[in-house]
Amino acid sequence: MTTFLQNCFAGLSLGSTYALVALGFVVIYKSTGVINFAQGGLLALGAYLGYTFSNNLAVAFAVAVLLCCLSAALVGATFERIVLRRMVGQPPFAVIMITIGLLFVLEPLITAVWGFEHKQVDNPWNIRTVEAFGLVFGVRDLWTIGLTAAVVLAFFLFFRFTSLGLAMRVTAFDPEAALAQGISARKVYATSWAIAAALAALAGILMAAGPGGLTPSIGFIALAAFPAMILGGMDSPAGAVLGGLIIGLAEAITRGYQDRLFSWAGDNVSVIVPYLLMIVILLIRPYGLLGTKEVRRI
């Protein structure tokens, strides 16, 4: 039982990171209809900005986290303002290609500024642990879970109770009706990009604070978070969080019981589990667990 709970905790921590990244995907998709393939690049950028604030500028880690999220949000909103605003009304495919372009621009940009070397982010968590109920909890993992829960709660409160959140929901539901009501689609799109970039940055700095440190390949996790978004439903923020947690738990538990239950299927079953889950759930629910089913008039 201890092993199972320990694996569940690992899965929750991993799933929280997936949830943050997947939520970023969903925020942009929901408001603009575009899948942002640059989410991994924004994650890496946020992590490196966090490194600069924490190590080079020596600000307190909590402040560094806040600053890196704000800086990434500014980058996201600026990109939307300068590049994507010109693409309003253009086919989503063209915009998706631009996000792919941004990903390819960010990678060399990051290495040009920060180099390729392995870096360690100064942070108060490191590999510290606390023990309770016979289980060992990594402090960074606890913070990852806690911060994700707080951010998700803030996110839903923002959408539910603020005028900008309402504007974003209305624009996502019917852009033309929103425009007719005087809602600024530009403001909504810029806000979406800022939120998505900030979420990516938070995921990035939380990952970089771990023992693996920081390398330019940190953004690859976005690929693993992609099934979480699909599984949860591409237009559902709650689905993204749920999908992230399911994928994280499934991966960690499969890995934990690899030797006992899955050795017949090879050595790395946990790697394919997210994709298997995605396929199975899409076969049953083509719009994901909490995605909106498209209504068609016949």
Binding site: S13, F116, T129, P211, G212, G213, S217, E251
Partner: protein, 427 residues
């Protein structure tokens, strides 16, 4: 009509001539022949004064963290050689660098782009990129120095490897654990390996040692590069009661693995293959755990150890030609690669033939090349009889050292390592 037919014929002839010229293009030796001992004739990559060497390395992308210092090592050595007048004291060396991004397909493209302009490749970084260009090397009679320690390079005539292969590192590490590290054949010995060729090379050495010393590998955990959470694997190793774990990984994964082990209070004796370590780990939060439980199997000596002649020379040359170069294991590897290539070029000049085929012939006559203690001496010659070094140096993690490693046991060879036989990749 007659005019049209004549033009068609002329066009066809011109096209044929172009085609013939193109076929004799990049891959052709283009040598003018007539070279003599000590005075090789001009050929592809050699204009009579300058020898051009190819470098196919990931200079961008995640593996550039290895490719850049490695290439810097190549450069510093050849800067030193050029300052002495060049190969055989008269032929300067120029490097032609191309970025492979560590992608086999890009490596093949870059190889084809420059193969007609170089006499050989002094670096091709990585197992997969090297395997991708190997058939081309064979058909072009080209020789290249692979920047990886895979054992199956030893028997490839078109490759000029250096260093003791990964299998030797793991065999010697096991020997140390069983003879001086507190282990016995009854100890619970486990492995944790990347699920790729590099990981399998380490595992092959451990399996060989298991037969030689009579122990069993109690548990093996395989992982994919870039895994984010290692709680499952560490839990399985702890559950199996592993007293010693041999690790083949790259630094980012190794950091996460040791961090997870430290958090889980899993404290076996770890031995890790050389690419698992990077100096940043010695400054990380995992360093105290690594200092206590981790031993790194590599070659040569610690950075700055001037008791080893090769290290003293290398440090002097770094100060002269690359003063901003940080202490780096891969830099030393690139530096040694360039030394091996220099020995080959000297032999080819001596035989009077710097053509691709000439270098291949020279490699068969190349004897033992010494690296002055930076890595083990390598006995070259015909690929079937080559004998790579069988020695390993064990390091402990010490943040106060320039590269974060302190010599634990310098340059030793186990009896089991001497018995290991190297096979060709397809054998």
């Amino acid at each position: 009509m007659v005019r049209t037919k004549r033009w068609t014929a002329v066009s066809a002839l011109a096209a044929t001539a172009l085609l013939v010229a193109a076929c004799g293009g990049a891959g052709d030796d283009g040598g003018s022949g007539g070279g003599q001992a000590g005075e090789p004739a001009t050929t592809a990559g050699f204009d009579g004064t300058t020898i051009k060497l190819g470098v196919l390395s990931p200079l961008s992308g995640p593996v550039a963290v290895i490719g850049q210092p490695l290439t810097s090592g190549n450069k510093v050595w050849f800067d030193h050689i050029n300052s002495q007048g060049g190969i055989a004291g008269k032929y300067r060396v120029e490097l032609v660098q191309e970025d492979t991004q560590y992608k086999p397909d890009v490596t093949v493209q870059q190889y084809n782009k420059v193969k007609g302009d170089v006499v050989a490749f002094t670096q091709i970084l990585g197992t997969a990129p090297t395997l991708a260009v190997l058939p081309l090397l064979q058909s072009d009679e080209m020789i290249a120095a692979p920047a990886s320690l895979d054992a199956f390079w030893v028997r490839e005539p078109n490759l000029l490897p250096i260093g003791a292969p990964y299998q030797i590192q793991s065999i010697n590490a096991m020997d140390h654990y069983l003879s001086e590290g507190g282990g016995t054949t009854d100890s619970t010995i486990c492995t944790m390996i990347q699920d790729d060729v590099y990981g399998e090379a380490g595992q092959e050495g451990i399996d060989f040692a298991a037969k030689e010393y009579g122990f069993e590998v109690a548990n093996t955990q395989r992982f994919k590069v870039g895994t984010e959470n290692y709680a499952g694997q560490i839990g399985a190793l702890a559950g199996a009661g592993c007293e010693m774990v041999f690790l083949t990984a790259t630094p980012t994964d190794a950091g996460k693995i040791w961090g997870t082990a430290a958090q889980a209070k899993f404290t076996p004796k770890w031995y890790a293959q050389s690419p698992s370590f990077v100096s940043a780990l010695a400054k990380s939060a995992v360093a105290p755990y690594m200092r206590q439980y981790v031993t790194i199997a590599a070659e040569g000596t610690e950075w700055g150890d001037e008791s080893v002649p090769g290290m003293k020379d290398m440090i002097d040359r770094v100060e002269q030609y690359a003063p901003n170069q940080e202490p780096d294991y891969y830099f030393a590897f690139g530096y040694n690669q360039a030394r091996a290539m220099t020995a080959l070029l000297e032999k080819a000049v001596e035989l009077g033939d710097l053509s691709h085929a000439g270098l291949l012939r020279a490699s068969e006559e190349l004897g033992t090349v010494s690296f002055d203690g930076l890595t083990g001496d390598y006995t070259y010659g015909p690929a079937d009889t080559r004998n790579p070094p069988r020695s390993t140096t064990l390091f402990s993690v010490d943040p106060s050292k320039p590269f974060g490693l302190a010599t634990l046991k310098y340059d030793f060879t186990s009896e089991a390592a001497k018995k290991f036989e190297f096979q060709k990749a397809d054998a």
